[in-house]
Amino acid sequence: MKFFRSLFQQIYSFSNKTLVLAELEMRKLRHDPTELLTRAVQPALWLLVFGQVFTRVRAIPTGNLPYLDFMTPGILAQSVLFIAIFYGISIIWEKDLGVVHKFLVSPTPRAALVLGKALSAGVRGLAQGLIVVVIALLLGVHLNFNLLSLLGVALAVVLGSALFSTFSLIIACIVKTRERFMGLGQVLTMPLFFASNAIYPISIMPSWLQVVSHLNPLTYEVDILRQLMLVGGTGTYQIGFDLGVLAAITIILVLIGAVMYPKVI
């Protein structure tokens, strides 16, 4: 009995502390929402320019979906990816001040700190996702507003953000300076984006790229989104499988992050 009570207490304390950090991010967004608007520009351009042009060209086989519809989940995933992959810079910034030090000296499990950061990125990702959805609606994309599907979309966005932001945190803990981090971030985003099913189906890729795409977590995120967001959307895998892949990678990364995070100082 005593064992279970103490176990329960630890789990409660762990999740409480994780949630504090995510809540903190929400408060920051509320204090300064202007940043969200500037972030809306890039996905808007992709959908408007790239989407409209390629819808006309009909160069990419998308089944019976208009190309704009097909690429919308991909662009959502991409813009969430960009935010997450640069999220690690906040850790470097916090390290150059004394913020990380204070978190690390508090009696908070390292994994809770890292998971909290991951969920914070999830909060940002959700805000970004909402913006992309609004843009897509304005452009006449046929979105699916089934409540359960929306929940699934939100879950995929949070998981994807958590995954890539934790990856980013680990890199930040290794490179330690802003300059090196920015360079690496830029090197990473494009391959992650293009070697995925975000804006074209995997089936049209050369076979080596197909292999890479299957190793790319973004592919699984887009696969969920494409099935849930669109009216008549289809995917490659079962949604449960996609979610499982994302969750498993996230957990592994959080565990690695928990070891790396204290080394950032």
Partner: protein, 266 residues
Amino acid sequence: MKIIETRDLTRRFGELLAVNRLSLTIDEGEIFGLLGPNGAGKTTTIKILTTLLPPTSGQAMVAGFDVRHQAARVRKMIGYVPQLISADGTLTGYENLMIFARLYDVPRQEREERVRQALRYMGLEEVADKLVRHYSGGMIRRLEIAQSMLHHPRVLFLDEPTIGLDPAARRTVWEHIINLRQQFGTTIFLTTHLMDEADELCSRVAIMHLGQMAALGSPQELKTAVGRGEEVTLDDVFIHYTGNELDNGGNFRDISRTRRVARRLG
């Protein structure tokens, strides 16, 4: 029991011996000052004692727990204000405190009251709901000390608590430090470059030089020892032990860090 006890505490960064066989004991309720030129190893010592850095060799016990093997227990017992700015400028003062009340397991029923109390105690009630970005340097420091005290720690580590503050703000921080000790019996371990600060606050000081302890005692004892009958200040004591007239301590990294903090706070 000694509240802090180190034995041959050593930390290397590659070839550099940042802390070299430091042995110290500190009694509960002391205000202990660690002095020394830039790069002497003061911050590194604090980082080891607060579990941020593992020692390369030697031992350190804080509140009865080993900093290396019982880090989680140590963390519950201590509060820490880093040398650099550690309050979050994009949140309000109230929010900054609330986060740490939760991270330090202050029970839910008590949180609100503790946070309010801390704000009142540090004279920050009026600005509680303003973003910390708009605070003055002195207000930020007071907020940071408030954050580190929410869970009533047994030992409080303050790394250059008054760096970059004007004389009036400095005095206010001093008063709060003295109050904390009187009211809660908190042991305070601080570092400083200011000899008058050490003289005013500390029951004992250690002077560190190139990672090693060069002198240890109450300010009065050190003055007597160095002065040999003549009237000397703690400045003279400092120069005597560190030979620091020629400004030999501190590389670019140390200085640029210090300046950056001073600029942000000022």
